[in-house]
């Protein structure tokens, strides 16, 4: 034990101790010797001391023999191989007997120490001083680097726009940068004595539940707290804002958390902007209710959760006669009416109901968790409330009603478009039945042929308007005296989703019944004006005659649009004739006269279409400010065989001329008819004789004037009339 203690003691000193036998074989060496001479820890007598020395074996033997004779350490002049030039190893040797290990025999202990005297000591001191000096220089450099880094960090910290708070491990503030001061209105001096929770608190969720700041969470867990958005409240002034914050722990190398840093910024404005953008994307801007996109999404989610126990009801509302308000009182009135209707309907709704505007005057209402009976009750209440409401605008009063279609879904997974189709179809049935009523979807709603045909046709018209699947054809209107093409009547063509042509005779009545004629008229006018503009750019003067539906007559909105379009497409004066039917014009003669006059002021002409087919009141003809009278085609087709028709045509022509109007005969199909019309004095003709409707305007009629006589007198009269107009 004592031997072990001694060995450990010898191992711990910097001097070299080596134990050899008298023949110079190494028996033991302390750690310093092992390091100095690269000796293995266990020697086992295999290494000769001579191998470590420059001293000759003879000199070594003599030295060992001398040293082996006394326990008093004796200087032995050994020259070591790894001896450094500037530091001599001085070796003392003495006899060493291990009483506990007599078998080892006589041994010599070598004790080598670094030279301690004279220049050696001075050299050691120098070496130590140099080492200290280098350490000191490094320390100074490190200190300077740390100071520089510290300054740089501080400046960076104060310069950045984000607020930064650093605390100790208990959450007491140590660093509080300028941005944090600005945001919280707490000075750096004040903050430095405070706990983070005394400066800021954070709340989340609808009930503003208080939550840990990311910094506190980070101190608790020792892990970084990543980007986190929450409402923050400054304790001392109760200012609130939305912040985006993240925090990281400050750890020692051992992993011990000694503090944390929280970086945060005020994102209130961004949050508000995002909310606004989200609101705009999901809501109808006019009324503030959900838009089609939001409704479809919510409907799909609701249908996914629907079951017999948890049914949902969907109601499709369409305003009856909305166009009348819009057209007669203007779109501002129409907008106000929509807002009023939304206000009325919303007053009856729960928070969980979703009300949306999905088209001009179309609304949908989703009632989650509502069975058929309750939905019917609610819808009838709404219809009743709306019926009682009177919309007033500029001294006008309008009675407003709604048509409603209801479908109740009691199974999961119905496609949202199918649900909307059912409610829409039911609404359509309600509308066809006279409006102001609710119709509940029944599976056979779609099997009634007329309902289905008209519903399908209506869908096709809407689709064609949405996708621009409408087109124009042009049929020439020819001066009977010289066969020159004076105008082209534009005729609307529509193809269905399969690409098949649908006759105007089919789709126009459906569009009229369902309030789509305004949209169709606007589409036709826009396309016609574009064509005029296009031909004008190509140096071709194109005059077009455009049919206006009865619904459009008197529409202030349309008037405004026509004014805008004439300016946009630089439509020349007198290059456009608007055709209105006799029937539509006299339905509200005062409105029609006012409307016609306003459009004529824009440089357009008017033609009374199909004259003779309706009331044929010459009184109205006198009061209507139109330039052209288009005699109904039914009189022309049989004019050669039916003397009554001929008489009618003659009478109309004479009266019209007497009133200063130009006459036009349509459905002209043969030369004999032309001869008669010319004899009567009709000014213009239109019909297959000169040309069928074509996709592009034809500026030469199919028949040359060479075969016909010319009536220069009538041409002059017509021009005179047009100039007056």
């Amino acid at each position: 034990m004592a031997f072990e203690t001694l060995r450990r003691l010898i191992d711990s000193i910097p001097d070299i101790f080596i134990l050899v036998d008298l023949d110079g074989r190494l028996l033991a060496a302390n750690r310093a010797a092992q390091r100095q001479f690269d000796l293995p820890p266990a020697l086992q007598g295999g290494i000769e001391l001579a191998s470590l020395l420059q001293t000759t074996p003879k000199e070594l033997r003599a030295a060992l023999a001398r040293a082996g004779r006394s326990t008093n350490p004796m200087l032995v002049p050994l020259k070591w191989l790894k001896q450094r030039e500037d530091l001599n190893l001085k070796t003392f040797a003495s006899r060493f007997d291990a009483a506990a290990l007599p078998e080892l025999g006589r041994m010599v202990a070598l004790h080598c120490s670094w030279q301690k005297h004279g220049t050696g000591q001075f050299s050691l001191l120098n070496r130590e001083l140099e080492s200290n000096r280098r350490t000191l220089v490094k320390l100074l450099e490190s200190k300077r680097t740390i100071e520089y880094e510290h300054q740089r960090s501080l400046i960076t910290l104060q310069s950045i726009a984000d607020a930064v708070i650093a605390t100790d491990r208990l959450g007491f503030v140590e660093i509080f940068n300028d941005a944090a001061v600005k945001l919280t209105q707490v000075s750096e001096e004040q903050a430095k004595n405070m706990h983070i929770s005394e400066i800021l608190e954070m709340v989340e969720g609808p009930y503003e539940t208080e939550v840990q700041t990311p910094l506190e969470a980070c101190l608790q867990s020792g892990e970084p707290s990543l980007s986190h958005e929450a409402r923050a409240r400054v304790q001392h002034n109760e200012a609130e804002f939305i912040i985006s914050a993240s925090a990281s722990p400050i750890k020692m190398e051992s992993g011990r958390v000694v503090g944390a840093v929280m970086v945060f910024r005020d994102i209130s404005e961004l949050h508000q902007t995002q909310n606004q953008i989200r609101f705009l994307a999901e809501h109808d801007l006019l009324t503030g209710v959900a838009n089609r996109h939001q409704f479809n999404r919510s409907l799909a989610e609701t249908l996914d959760r629907t079951s017999r126990e948890n049914p949902c009801s969907l109601i499709f509302f369409d305003m009856d006669l909305f166009k009348i308000v819009n057209d007669t009182a203007g779109h501002q009135a129409g907008d106000q009416l929509l807002k009023d209707i939304v206000r009325i309907i919303r007053s009856r709704l729960r928070n969980t109901d979703l009300f949306a505007r999905i088209g001009g005057d179309e609304f949908t209402l989703l009632l989650p968790g509502t069975n058929h009976e309750n939905a019917v009750n609610l819808t009838n209440q709404i219809l009743h409330l709306v019926k009682r409401f009177v919309f007033r605008w500029d001294n006008h009063a309008f009675d407003v009603t709604l048509s409603a279609g209801l479908t109740t879904i009691e199974h999961r997974g119905m496609d949202s478009s199918e649900a909307i189709r059912q409610a829409d179809l039911a609404c359509y049935v309600a509308k066809r039945a006279g409006g102001n009523q609710l119709h509940c979807f029944a599976p056979d709603d779609g099997t009634g042929r007329s309902n289905l045909n008209e519903y399908n046709l209506l869908s096709e018209i809407r689709r064609a308007l949405d996708r621009n699947d409408l087109s124009l054809n042009f049929q020439p209107l020819v001066d009977i005296r010289n066969f020159e093409v004076a105008f082209h009547e534009v005729l609307l063509r529509m193809t269905d989703s399969r690409g098949l042509l649908i006759s105007p005779a089919e789709f126009i009545p459906v569009a009229e019944r369902n309030g789509l004629m305004g949209d169709i008229d606007l589409w036709v006018i826009t396309s016609a004006f574009k064509t005029i503009n296009r031909d004008k750019q190509e140096g071709q003067s194109l005059n077009l005659s455009i049919n206006l539906s009865g619904r459009s007559i008197g529409s202030k909105e349309l008037l405004a649009r026509i004014r805008e379009l004439i300016a946009r497409y630089e439509v020349p004066k007198h290059s456009v004739i608007f055709e209105i039917t006799e029937t539509a014009a006299i339905e509200n003669i005062d409105t029609a006269i006012e409307f016609v006059n306003e459009i004529r002021e824009l440089g357009c002409l008017f033609s009374l279409d199909d004259f003779g087919a309706g009331f044929s009141s010459f009184k109205y003809l006198r009061s209507l400010p139109v330039e052209f009278v288009k005699i109904d085609g039914s009189f022309i087709v049989n004019i050669l065989k039916d003397s009554a028709n001929e008489a009618m045509v003659r009478a109309i022509h004479q009266i019209a001329h007497a009133l200063g109007k130009v006459t036009v005969a349509e459905y002209v199909e043969d030369a004999e008819t032309i001869d008669l019309l010319r004899e009567i004095g009709i000014d213009y003709g239109q019909g297959f004789y000169w040309g069928k409707p074509t996709p592009e305007p034809q500026f030469e009629s199919d028949v040359s004037i060479e075969t016909e006589a010319k009536s220069t007198k009538l041409v002059a009269e017509t021009k005179l009339t047009l100039d007056r107009a």
């Binding site: 001398r66 004779r69 006394s70 008093n72 350490p73 004796m74 200087l75």
Partner: protein
């Protein structure tokens, strides 16, 4: 004329050999030894200086041992002869060593006059010369010796007491002294 100058004048007229200067070879060598050992002790310390002197002492011991053996015509000197040699060699160099006691175990010697005279005072390293010479002679003849310098004039004692063990002691002296072995 100043009297001192007058005397100086008189002395300066004398030859150097006529001067009463206390200098002979012995004194010179003793002074030399004292200065050498003093310088050594100052430079390297007592311990290390003793190491140097031991080396010298061993060589002196070997030389003297050969001389006495030859004169006695003995291969090995018995303890009593060893005791005589130790006292005699000191006497020859003007030391005042006496035999205090002798048995199989040890030889005890006392001394009242150091061969280095008053030059030994404060020069304990010189005592290592005595220890080594005594130990070397005793060990070469006895196979083993242990020398303990119990009192020394160099250390300020009135006299020296030197014990030369001929076999390892088992009492308090077991942990003291320097051991010597036959070379």
């Amino acid at each position: 004329m100043d009297q001192d100058l007058c005397i100086g004048f008189v002395m300066s007229d004398m030859n150097a050999e006529q001067l009463s200067i206390e200098l002979d070879r012995d004194l010179f060598l003793r002074n030399l030894l004292r200065e050498l050992s003093g310088t050594l002790e100052e430079l390297v310390g007592l311990e290390e200086a003793s190491g140097y002197i031991s080396l010298v002492g061993q060589k002196i011991g070997d030389w003297l041992n050969r001389e006495y053996r030859d004169e006695f015509n003995l291969q090995r000197l018995p303890p009593d002869k060893i005791a005589q040699v130790l006292v005699d060699l000191k006497a020859r160099i003007e030391g005042g060593f006496e035999l205090a006691s002798i048995d199989d175990q040890k030889i005890v010697l006392t001394n009242t006059r150091c061969p280095f005279g008053d030059k030994v005072l404060g020069r304990k390293s010189l005592c290592m010369m005595t220890s080594t010479v005594f130990g070397t002679i005793a060990a070469e003849n006895n196979g083993y010796a242990k020398v303990i310098l119990k009192r020394t004039i160099a250390a300020g004692d009135a006299g020296c007491e030197v014990v030369v063990y001929l076999s390892p002691p088992i009492d308090d002296d077991a942990l003291r002294g320097i051991e010597y072995y036959e070379g």
